[in-house]
Symmetry: C2
Subunit: 256 residues, 2 copies
């Protein structure tokens, strides 16, 4: 999925964390149209040639979960509690659930529903249906969990909840979004997450980018976007993090 | 893969951590032959009906990575450094790499090579070949990394390295194990990992279980194994952790 990284859910995960802690950061787009992700400079940031990569002074890292943990830890955010081992562990449990149980069906569904049409290929309804069935089994567990406590790790919001944002955002906007109506606790949890200012801010990014871009097509000129996004000198001097990534992501899907 | 959980790589990951810190623990097998994983008692431990589940007094958790982190943190193991954020982050980066980049091809290969024959189905050579090609791309990145530092997160061994043990152990014993010869730093890293006492101890478990079991067949009677494994009263009183899992795993593959 090299070419689809500019719609990256991984990028969105990190952006939400940056917004949650109120960090200043500079977005440095990677130009996929000229395969910038394959250049030695980017491979040095991310050896798998993917986005995002993340830079804090001389410390350069990749992998969205590790980047997110770094940001939250550095800012001592309550979203990643570290003082009490059991509390920290419950966050880790549900981060692992998201990665191992939730993402497998939902990422396959989103790939077929969203990314395939963008690439000009036809979604495979059999794949979508099979994964919807698996996804429902996962949602049943989530509904049970969220009827016991308000958030996944307990009665406190954490990175484990926020980490679900990117894929769920795509899904909720798809023709299957109404599936959540069958799971009232899950639905309330999602609406609660969506009301976070961090998500509004990432929406603002999207809106800003939409203004910069004449089209949401795959062939978008990221260099042009970057030039328009580049903060002025005064702001850049205060910027702390550099966030190497393409920045087109989270298209709002129209309900079909 | 419900029925295959008794060969669980997830179980192996936790066992290695238990052995690394020298924890005392009781293995409580889950009898897959009577679908014990579907019972309310087990669902209460692991809502996805999988193994492992893990119990420390009244604290019950699931997901092998979260369990492993809990064990290592509780014992303040150097394998999971927490004092320095950058060091901790490099461990997180390579744990994410293992999960997101390394496991996808290797787990697919092992499923076809190892688990399909156990279930009486034929491996799909096309799937194996395609995933071997992807795996080689990942191994190239690992070779580059391990030529820069002795272990994945830096010049110190960590949970990020050990977490690779279960799948790599299967792979190294397969007919494709010689692939590692093309990556000298990777090969040296793997041999170094294999020389850890923790792996010898998990081998001892396997040997003990082999003695208990008349057969390594899928229909193995885990209850019988459990009765023979159960520690005597004196030992059980000292036992700290309970580890709910089936315990047949890590068959040594004969080279084909």
């Amino acid at each position: 999925m090299d070419g689809m990284d500019e719609h990256s859910t991984a990028v969105a995960r990190v952006l939400v964390c940056l917004e949650e802690v109120g960090a200043e950061y500079e977005i440095v787009p990677i130009d996929f149209t000229v395969k910038e992700y394959q250049t030695p400079a980017h491979i040095a940031r991310n050896p798998f040639g993917q986005v995002p990569a993340f830079q804090d002074d001389d410390f350069v890292i990749f992998e969205s979960s590790a980047i997110s943990r770094y940001i939250l830890s550095k800012y001592k955010s309550n979203l990643l509690p570290e003082d009490d081992l059991r509390t920290a562990t419950m966050v880790n449990v549900w981060l692992d659930v998201e990665y191992g149980q939730y993402n497998t069906p939902i990422s396959t569904i989103i790939y077929d529903l969203v990314f395939k049409p963008m690439m000009g290929t036809v979604p495979d309804q059999q794949i979508v249906d099979a994964n919807l069935e698996n996804f429902k089994k996962v949602l049943k567990v989530y509904e049970a969990r969220l009827s016991q406590c308000k958030y996944l790790a307990g009665d406190f919001i954490s990175f484990a909840d926020l980490s679900h944002f990117p894929y769920t955002y795509y899904f909720a906007g798809s023709q299957y979004g109404s599936l959540f109506n069958s799971y009232p606790h899950l639905k309330a949890w999602w609406e609660d997450l969506m009301s976070r200012p961090s998500h509004s801010h990432t929406e603002v990014h999207k809106t800003h980018l939409e203004k910069c871009c004449s089209s949401w097509k795959f062939s978008i000129n990221f260099s042009k976007v970057y030039r328009q996004m580049k903060p002025n000198r005064e702001v850049r001097d205060r910027v702390k993090f550099r966030f190497h990534t393409s920045i087109k992501f989270l298209d709002k899907l129209s309900k079909v």
